[in-house]
């Protein structure tokens, strides 16, 4: 399945071409119009459309970012996953260059945009998307040097994400273990699905070409080493590594070894399928006193150890779109009516473990209703929170060894936090 892109388009929200790069000479700018007509034709709302559009021998793949569409047109049978992922990478690169990718920034930097499009893709084949390395030889005006640049070794090296000769006075590594809890609870209170998606976010400020080795309390590794797992060892369902990690080595002996890129990146993401007890449980009772008066009683309970505290808790309680005259009382935190999202938003700055708080709200509905009206969208209760110093999985960084030939000592810093991901509790 060899397949290359014919052209890459950057379009504004109305489908007009901002910049496009023709890679193979077999499509023209008209394709952008065709694409957009087709998009509109399918159904007014472009956002609900699947990201693959086919029309008259040309396949279009697109994503949207703020007010810009990034779209590839192709006459060949392409690898859709690769191209869509590539488009997301292009967004990352542009964001690295211009802070924000939007119509304005593209116009303001069209020269660099062309240069980048030329370097990131050749003849419709994705080539290179490491923003930090690209910015070593493609510079914006402010930093453009008169000396002719050479391609950094990294572009074609096996270590394509890091340049040589990086120097820091103080060598440091920051490691954030961020876990998001996704949970879906049915209206009968049953947990339908729950999982934890974790990420090891790294920021490295290291000189030279450091060899790093990361040790986790991964059960498979510890057992393979014949260690008694006296602490808590964990099972990770699926792990995804940044391209710097040697996958074959991991497959062999579960060692996580790598030469890191400079700056921030996600070293790995992982997923756990274990049933987690919902960290914050929310129950809502809706009572309709009459046709026009509704009362809601909400209980929120923290189900984690008392020594941890959830911060910035935000509970969104959906109500009817035509609710009015709300009266809300809470036993903790503050709550307000947000008509723009048809919901009450209950904010609790600090929510220690093992506590229960209440909210009571009353509002009125118009007494006249449309008999024919389609049922309203049943939004779930949604919860946001952060619990610092805590992970659901119990993952632990046992060590991070950093070895560089100059022999410097580097300090690794680790920090843990858990937050709510897609945390939804359906209402009856």
């Amino acid at each position: 399945m060899a397949g290359a892109v014919s052209a890459l388009f950057l379009l504004d929200i109305k489908g007009r071409v901002l910049v496009w790069r023709d890679y193979r000479g077999d499509v023209s700018a008209i394709q952008a119009e065709r694409f957009f007509t087709k998009l509109i034709e399918k159904e007014g709302d472009a956002q609900s459309q699947d990201p693959v559009v086919y029309d008259n021998g040309v396949s279009y793949l697109f994503i949207q970012h703020s007010n810009v569409y990034l779209m590839t047109a192709s006459r060949q049978n392409c690898n859709a996953a690769s191209l869509l992922f590539f488009l997301h990478r292009v967004v990352d690169v542009f964001k690295h260059y211009f802070e924000e990718l939007e119509e304005e920034s593209l116009r303001d930097n069209f020269v660099v945009v062309y240069e980048l499009l030329d370097e990131m893709m050749d003849f419709g084949y994705p080539q290179y998307t490491e923003a930090t390395i690209l910015s070593e030889f493609i510079k914006t005006d402010a930093y453009r040097m008169e000396v002719t640049q050479r391609p950094p070794m990294a572009v074609t090296n096996a270590v394509s994400w890091r340049s040589e000769g990086i120097l820091y006075k103080k060598n440091e590594v920051f490691l954030d273990v961020v876990e998001s809890v996704n949970i879906l609870v049915n209206s009968n209170g049953q947990i339908i699905r729950s999982d934890v998606v974790g990420a090891l976010k790294m920021r490295t400020y290291l000189s030279g070409m450091p060899e790093c080795k990361l040790g986790l309390n991964d059960r498979i590794l510890l057992e393979a080493q014949g260690r008694t797992t006296k602490g808590k060892a964990i099972d990770l369902d699926d792990i995804k590594f940044h391209q710097c990690v040697r996958l074959a080595r991991f497959e062999n002996d579960r060692t996580i070894s790598f030469i890191p890129p400079d700056g921030s990146f996600d070293l790995m993401t992982y997923r756990l399928n274990t049933q987690v007890k919902p960290l914050i449980w929310v129950e809502a009772q809706v009572e309709k006193h009459s046709r026009s008066r509704v009362e809601i009683l909400v209980k929120a309970r923290s189900q984690f150890k008392e020594r941890s505290t959830a911060t910035n808790v935000e509970i969104e309680l959906p109500v009817s779109a035509d609710a009015s005259n709300p009266i809300i009382r809470t036993s903790m935190g503050s709550a307000s009516y947000a008509p723009e999202t048809d919901a009450f938003v209950w904010k609790i700055k600090s929510f220690p473990g093992g506590k229960e708080y209440m909210l009571r709200a009353e509002f009125t509905l118009p007494s006249v209703t449309d008999e024919e009206a389609t049922p309203e969208r049943k939004a779930p209760i949604r919860v946001k929170f952060e619990i610092p110093y805590f992970t659901v999985s119990g993952i632990q960084v046992r060590y991070l060894k950093i070895i560089e030939k100059s022999g410097y000592q580097a300090l690794p810093w680790v920090r843990y936090i858990t937050m709510a991901g897609e945390y939804e509790l359906r209402l009856t």
Partner: protein, 536 residues
């Protein structure tokens, strides 16, 4: 661990990361190129012409930028061809790139003038700076003008053997460009051999691009050009560990054409490819899955197959946490995978349950997979979900959810009754399109399980008046005709439909005809006979 400290400040990392990066980039400043888009009153083209021929470097550079800006907004600036090409001989890389870009766009419309650029191209292809050498062949390959192509051959030949891997990887792709323009030239000048040599290059990126080029050439050629021998195979599998993520995709996609000789070789290949399942790039993961699935066809050991299925499930599930567009592609692939290997995701149906904020195109695909994975074991949970979806607001999604219930009833005989009772519950909500969709699927359920569930017909008849969609009407009429002998007032019901007979679409008319005939055969009385006459 002693050396691991906890940070003091525990505000969430994202915020901090953002601050850090903006600090670092603060000095970089974004551009102000938009000024080049503005036009002056004086005729634009003559003014640009004047500026392009200015004696001052900066003025010329600005002028070229204005030309490119004009080109970007779709103005025809091809008449400035000679003037722009005159700016091509420059030390300034940025200016050179812009002129090259101009050439890619307009050389075709000015083929005779394009020849003016050849000298600089050839010179640049020998520049001491590899960036410029690569740029020259890369650009020449994009100019689809015969005269340029002729002059491309020698520089390309040199660049394929360049010392710098950056130039070689660019030249590799350039062979594919040349093949697209003039296949004969590529064959005659021995480029294919040079390209094949690059498969053994010591640089993984060069190998990957050579593979992409060869794969494309093979696709467009009738003869065998790129045949993967077991020798090449092992080279490519080695390069896989070292090249960029995009290169890995090229190699995996090209290798998916490889037919292993026997089960043992297939197992070996799979073993080398499985580590890719851990890659953060979704495309690498999907291409690896594809390749493993293909090799699995040859593997005979059930243990190995079972093991591989177990290994593939978690990465496939993880794809569902990717960006929605990627999720969509993953779901379309999973849809095919579960048909060939139903066991892989048999226990994972929950991950396909729709989230409130999933885009509608993701929800639709998830539903499709839920139907495929529904089994006697999980049907109760699945039905609860479908019922939940059937009360959402997006009409298409709701309809699909209702239809999904019907399809499960047809697929799982033992669950049919439960499915029907869910459908009846939905009918009772009396949302018009839900009722119509339900009736359509109930007709199919009746066809699959004849004479089993006719007790519900009375409930269906209550909604008779609300039907306004042809398919729903036709389905209801079919039900009445099929069970005419059990419905006391079947003749009345059909008669009510007959009133509007001439205005009905063909499918309803056809059903009415067959239903009345059925009624007549089952209850040969006067009424039906008259009705048939009315129909004709």
């Amino acid at each position: 661990m002693k050396s691991l400290h906890k940070y003091n400040n525990v505000t969430i990392s994202k915020r901090r990361l953002k601050e850090d990066t903006s600090e670092r980039r603060g000095a970089k400043m974004s551009g102000h190129d938009s000024k080049y888009f503005s036009t002056t009153k004086k005729g634009e083209i003559p003014e640009l012409k004047e500026e392009l021929n200015s004696q001052y470097k900066d003025k010329r550079k600005d002028a070229v930028k204005k030309v490119i800006a004009a080109m970007t907004v779709g103005k025809d600036v091809s008449s400035l061809f000679t003037d722009v090409v005159n700016c091509m001989q420059t030390e300034n890389l940025e200016l050179k790139k812009l002129v090259y870009l101009y050439l890619i766009n307009y050389a075709k419309s000015q083929p005779d003038l394009a020849i003016l650029a050849v000298n600089t191209f050839v010179k640049d292809s020998q520049d001491p700076n590899p960036l410029i050498r690569a740029l020259a062949v890369r650009t020449m390959g994009c100019i689809r003008v015969d005269k340029i192509t002729e002059y491309l051959c020698d520089p390309l030949q040199r660049c394929l053997k360049d010392d710098d891997p950056y130039v070689r990887k660019t030249a590799a792709i350039c062979v594919a460009k040349l093949y697209d323009i003039n296949a004969e030239l590529v064959e005659d000048r021995g480029f294919l051999e040079s390209l094949k040599d690059l498969i053994s290059d010591n640089n993984p990126m060069v190998v990957a691009n050579a593979v992409a080029a060869l794969a494309e050439i093979q696709e467009n050629s009738s003869g065998p050009i790129f045949e993967i021998s077991s020798h090449t195979l092992s080279k490519l599998l080695t390069a896989l560990n070292e090249c960029t993520e995009w290169g890995q995709v090229f190699i995996l996609d090209a290798l998916s054409r490889y037919k292993a000789a026997d089960a043992r070789e297939a197992e070996n290949i799979v073993e080398r490819v499985t580590p890719r399942l851990q890659h953060a790039n979704c495309a690498v993961v999907l291409s690896a899955v594809k390749m493993i699935l293909q090799q699995m066809e040859l593997i005979t050991s059930t243990d190995v197959v079972r093991n591989l299925c177990k290994k593939m499930a978690p990465p496939l599930v993880t794809l569902l946490s990717a960006e929605p567009e990627i999720q969509y592609v993953a779901l379309r692939n999973i849809n095919l995978i579960v048909q060939r290997r139903p066991t892989i995701l048999a226990h994972e149906i929950k991950v396909f349950f729709c989230k409130y904020n999933d885009p509608i195109y993701v929800k639709m695909e998830k539903l499709e997979i839920m139907i495929k994975l529904a089994s006697d074991r999980n049907i109760d949970q699945v039905l609860l979900e479908f019922k939940e979806y059937a009360t959402e607001v997006d009409v298409d999604f709701v309809r699909k959810a209702v239809r999904a219930i019907g399809r499960c009833a047809i697929k799982l005989e033992r669950a049919a009754e439960r499915c029907i009772s869910v459908l009846l519950e939905l009918i009772k909500i009396k949302v018009n399109y839900v009722v119509q969709e339900a009736i359509i699927v109930i007709k199919d359920i009746f066809r699959r399980y004849p004479n089993t569930y006719e007790s519900i017909i009375a409930t269906l008849c209550e909604s008779l008046d609300t039907l306004d969609e042809p398919e729903a009407k036709a389905s209801m009429i079919w039900i009445i005709g099929e069970y005419a002998e059990r419905i006391d007032n079947a003749d009345e019901l059909l008669e009510s439909f007959l009133e509007s007979f001439p205005e009905e679409p063909a499918q309803v008319q056809l059903q009415l005809l067959t239903a009345t005939v059925k009624l007549f055969l089952k209850k040969p009385t006067e009424g039906p006979q008259q009705m048939i006459q009315v129909s004709f």
